[in-house]
C-alpha cells in the first residue's frame, strides 16, 4: 500500500522537480550601480539600427545601461507584459489606435517638460494630439519617424513613355486612360490582403475628408455618410484601371508585379519599398502625392507616425529615460534609423531623405500632411475588410449607412465617455 502511494506521489514529484530545473535562473539584475532603462520597440525590421544605437549609447554613458528589445509580434508581447505587470520603461510604438488605447488606459506618462519636443515638427505633434480619444493636458509621445503614402511609380516607365506626374484628380484619370490605352497596366492592387485596401482609402481621404472626421462623428457633429461619400465614390473609379480580380492577389503579389514592371504605378506607402526592392534591387522608384481633388492649391500628403517613443507611467527613472530620448533624437542617430528604414524624420532639420520620396519632399518640408484615417478606426471593426467588401459590391449608399451604424456600435463606450466629458466641460471632447 505505502509503496504504491509513494510511487504515485513520486511521479508527480518527479514532474514537479523537472519543472523546477527548467524554471531556474531569473534575470540577473545589474549590480554595477547603473540605472537600467529598458526599451521595447515594435519594429523588428529595424533591429539593426537599434542595436547600433544601443551600443553607441552604452559606450557613451557611464551611469545608464540601456537595453533595447525589438521582438516579433511586439504588440502581443507588450500586452502580455502589461498583464504580467512587467512594463518596460520606454516603448516605441506607432501613432495609431494602440497608442490611443494605451493613453486612454492611463498607462503613459506626461513628458511635456522634455525639451526635445521643441524640435519636433508641429504637424506630427498635432497628429498625436488628434489621437487622444479625450483631450488631455500634456504630451505623451515623442514622434520619431514617419512614413508617407500615395502613389509609387516606375520612373523608367514614366520617362520612356513621357508620362507627366498628375496634380489633380482630372489629370490622374487622364493619365490612367493614357497608360491603359498604351496597352500597359496602370495600377496593381493586392486586395487579397485586406489592409492594402486602406492604402488608396487613406491617401484619398487626406484630400476628400476632414482630418478629424472620426472625432467629429464621435461628438455627434456629422456622419460618415456625409463625409465619406465622395471618397467612397472615387475609390470605385480606380478599379477598372487595375488588373482583373484584384482580390485574388496579395500584397506580396502586388509588390512583385510592380517590381517586375507589370504595372506603372502602385498605390501604397513608402514602407513597401524594401519588399519591392528585394525582388528588383535595381528598380527606379519615385512617388507622388495622391491627387484626389481638383483643387488649385494642390493636395495634402498622407503621412503618419511610424515610430514614436512613450515613457510608461511606471517608469521610476524619468530623467534617465529622458537622457535616452535625447540621445535618440541626436541628428546623427536619427540618420542611422532613416538610412536603415527609408523613413521620414519627425524632427526639424536637414536630413538625407530616401530618393523614392523625392516627389513628396516639398510636402514633407512644408508640413502639409494628414494622418492615416485608419489610425482612428478600432481594429475590431475591421474597416479594411469592410472596404474590401465595398469594392467588391459597390453599393455606396447601403455601405455608408452600415459604416455609420457599425461605428456607433464599436465605439459606443468611447462616444458615451466623450459626451459625458462634453456635458461636464461644455465643449468638444477632442479638439
Amino acid at each position: 500500500m505505502k509503496k504504491r502511494k509513494l510511487s504515485v506521489i513520486g511521479i508527480f514529484a518527479g514532474l514537479l522537480s523537472a519543472g523546477m530545473i527548467l524554471t531556474g535562473c531569473g534575470d540577473s539584475s545589474s549590480d554595477n550601480g547603473k540605472i537600467r532603462i529598458e526599451m521595447v520597440q515594435y519594429k523588428p525590421e529595424a533591429v539593426k539600427a537599434f542595436e547600433k544605437m544601443e551600443e553607441k549609447f552604452n559606450a557613451s554613458h557611464d551611469d545608464i545601461e540601456l537595453t533595447i528589445e525589438s521582438p516579433n509580434e511586439a504588440m502581443t508581447i507588450l500586452k502580455t507584459r502589461f498583464i504580467k505587470e512587467d512594463q518596460p520603461d520606454i516603448i516605441g510604438i506607432g501613432g495609431d489606435v494602440n497608442y490611443s488605447n494605451f493613453l486612454d488606459a492611463d498607462m503613459l506618462t506626461d513628458i511635456s517638460d522634455f525639451e526635445g519636443l521643441a524640435d519636433i515638427k508641429q504637424a506630427y505633434l498635432d497628429i498625436d494630439k488628434n489621437l487622444e480619444f479625450i483631450s488631455r493636458n500634456g504630451v505623451y509621445a515623442v514622434p520619431y519617424a514617419a512614413n508617407a503614402a500615395g502613389i509609387l511609380y516606375n520612373k523608367d516607365m514614366f520617362e520612356e513613355n513621357g508620362w507627366e506626374i498628375p496634380t489633380t484628380w482630372e489629370e490622374f484619370l487622364t493619365l490612367l486612360d493614357t497608360i491603359q490605352a498604351s496597352g500597359q497596366q496602370p495600377l496593381y492592387f493586392g486586395f487579397k490582403d485586406t489592409w492594402t485596401c486602406l492604402a488608396p482609402w487613406n491617401a484619398m481621404a487626406c484630400d476628400l475628408a476632414p482630418a478629424d472626421v472620426c472625432q467629429q462623428v464621435n461628438r455627434g457633429e456629422t456622419t460618415f455618410s456625409e463625409e465619406y461619400r465622395e471618397l467612397a465614390e472615387k475609390i470605385l473609379q480606380l478599379l477598372p484601371y487595375a488588373q482583373d480580380d484584384p482580390y485574388a492577389y496579395s500584397y506580396n503579389d502586388a509588390c512583385t508585379a510592380f517590381a517586375r514592371g507589370e504595372s506603372a504605378m502602385y498605390c501604397i506607402g513608402s514602407y513597401a519599398v524594401p519588399q519591392i526592392k528585394s525582388v528588383n534591387p535595381e528598380m527606379n522608384i519615385d512617388s507622388f502625392v495622391f491627387p484626389a481633388n481638383d483643387s488649385a492649391d494642390g493636395q495634402i500628403l498622407n503621412s503618419g507616425i511610424d515610430l514614436q517613443f512613450c515613457i510608461m507611467e511606471d517608469c521610476k527613472e524619468k530623467e534617465a529615460a529622458y537622457e535616452v530620448l535625447r540621445f535618440m533624437l541626436e541628428d546623427e542617430n536619427i540618420q542611422i534609423y532613416l538610412d536603415e528604414q527609408n523613413a521620414v524624420p519627425c524632427k526639424e532639420g536637414e536630413f538625407q531623405l530616401p530618393s523614392m520620396l523625392d516627389g513628396m519632399k516639398e510636402y514633407i518640408d512644408a508640413g502639409k500632411m494628414t494622418d492615416y484615417q485608419d489610425h482612428y478606426y478600432p481594429t475590431e471593426m475591421a474597416v479594411d475588410a469592410m472596404i474590401q467588401t465595398y469594392l467588391m459590391k459597390g453599393d455606396t449608399d447601403a455601405w455608408l449607412k452600415k459604416f455609420d451604424r457599425d461605428w456607433t456600435r464599436y465605439n459606443r463606450d468611447l462616444i458615451r465617455k466623450i459626451q459625458d466629458y462634453q456635458k461636464e466641460n461644455g465643449e468638444g471632447g477632442n479638439k
Binding site: K43, E73, I77, T80, I83, A272
Partner: protein
C-alpha cells in the same frame, strides 16, 4: 519485421500503385517549397513557369542564412527540450489518466463526469484562456519553458485521454485479471501489463502531441516573452514583418524545422504497427 513479411503474403499491387499516384498531391507542393527555399528574392515571379523553374543556382546560402537569423541551434534545442519533455510527461500521465478514467467510466458516475469534464476542455478557445494564463503563470513564477510544458501537458490531456480510453476499450479486462490473481497491485499491474500493451497508442500520442507542440507559436510567445529564450517557430517569426516577408529564407527555415519531426514520426510509426495486442490477446 520478419514476422510481418511472413504474414504479408503477396503484395497488393493495385493499392500500392494508387497510393504512389496519390503522392503527387504531396510532392507537387513540396517541390514548390523546395524550389522557393533555394531561390533568391529577386528570382520570385508571379507566373507559373517562373515559379516552377529551377533556381539559378543550387546554393545553400538561404539555409545557412536562415540558420543564422533564427539562431538555429539554440532555438532547436529549446524546441526539442520542450517537445521531448511534453511528450514524455504526456505518455506517462495521460496514459495513467486514460487507464483510471477509461476503466471506470462505464460503471461510475464520478469517472464518467471526470471523462466528460476533461474531454470538454478541448473546446475551450485558447484566446479566452490566454490572458488569464499569462497572469497566472507569471504569478506562479513559471512564465518560462517549464510553464509552457505544463500548459501543453494540460492542453493535450483531453485529446490523449480520448485516445487512451478509446484504445483501452479494445484491451480485454481478462488481461489484467490474470495478474491480479497472482496478487499484484493495480499499480504494478498497470506498469507491467497495461502500459506495454498500449505501445501503439503511446506512439500515436507521441506523434500527435509532438506535432502540436513543435509547430505552436502562441503559447511560447505569450508565456515565455521576455525570457530571451526562443523556440523555432518563435524565431521563424523573424521572416515576417508588418510590411514584408522573406519567403525564401522562411521556406528554407521551415524545411529545416520539418526534418526532426519527420524523423521522429518515422521512428514512432514502426511502433504503431507492431500489433502487440494481437499477440497478447492470443
Amino acid at each position: 519485421m520478419k514476422k510481418n513479411t511472413k504474414q504479408m503474403g503477396k503484395t497488393n499491387w493495385p493499392v500500392t500503385i494508387l497510393l504512389i499516384m496519390g503522392c503527387v498531391t504531396i510532392f507537387f507542393p513540396l517541390y514548390m517549397a523546395v524550389i522557393i527555399a533555394f531561390k533568391k528574392p529577386s528570382e520570385m515571379t508571379n507566373d507559373i513557369a517562373g515559379a516552377l523553374s529551377f533556381p539559378s543556382s543550387w546554393s545553400f546560402d538561404n539555409f545557412t542564412e536562415a540558420m543564422r537569423v533564427t539562431d538555429f541551434w539554440n532555438s532547436l534545442g529549446n524546441s526539442l527540450l520542450i517537445t521531448a519533455l511534453t511528450v514524455v510527461i504526456a505518455i506517462l500521465l495521460h496514459s495513467l489518466a486514460g487507464y483510471a478514467i477509461g476503466r471506470n467510466m462505464g460503471k461510475s458516475k464520478f469517472y464518467k463526469f471526470a471523462y466528460l469534464y476533461i474531454v470538454s476542455g478541448m473546446f475551450v478557445p485558447f484566446a479566452i484562456l490566454m490572458m488569464p494564463l499569462v497572469k497566472q503563470t507569471s504569478q506562479m513564477g513559471i512564465g518560462n519553458r517549464a510553464g509552457v510544458i505544463i500548459l501543453y501537458v494540460v492542453f493535450y490531456m483531453p485529446m490523449n485521454l480520448l485516445l487512451y480510453s478509446g484504445y483501452l476499450k479494445n484491451i480485454p479486462l481478462a488481461l489484467e485479471e490474470a495478474a491480479k490473481v497472482d496478487g499484484a497491485s493495480t499499480w504494478k499491474t498497470y506498469w507491467s501489463i497495461i502500459f506495454p500493451v498500449m505501445k501503439p497508442m503511446h506512439a500515436t500520442v507521441a506523434v500527435l502531441t509532438a506535432l502540436g507542440t513543435w509547430n505552436d507559436v502562441m503559447t511560447p510567445l505569450v508565456i515565455m516573452s521576455g525570457t530571451g529564450k526562443n523556440t523555432l517557430p518563435l524565431a521563424q517569426l523573424n521572416f515576417q514583418t508588418q510590411f514584408g516577408t522573406n519567403y525564401n529564407l522562411a521556406f528554407a527555415s521551415y524545411l529545416l524545422a520539418l526534418i526532426p519531426i519527420l524523423l521522429f514520426y518515422l521512428v514512432c510509426q514502426k511502433q504503431i504497427l507492431n500489433g502487440v495486442v494481437n499477440g497478447a490477446v492470443k
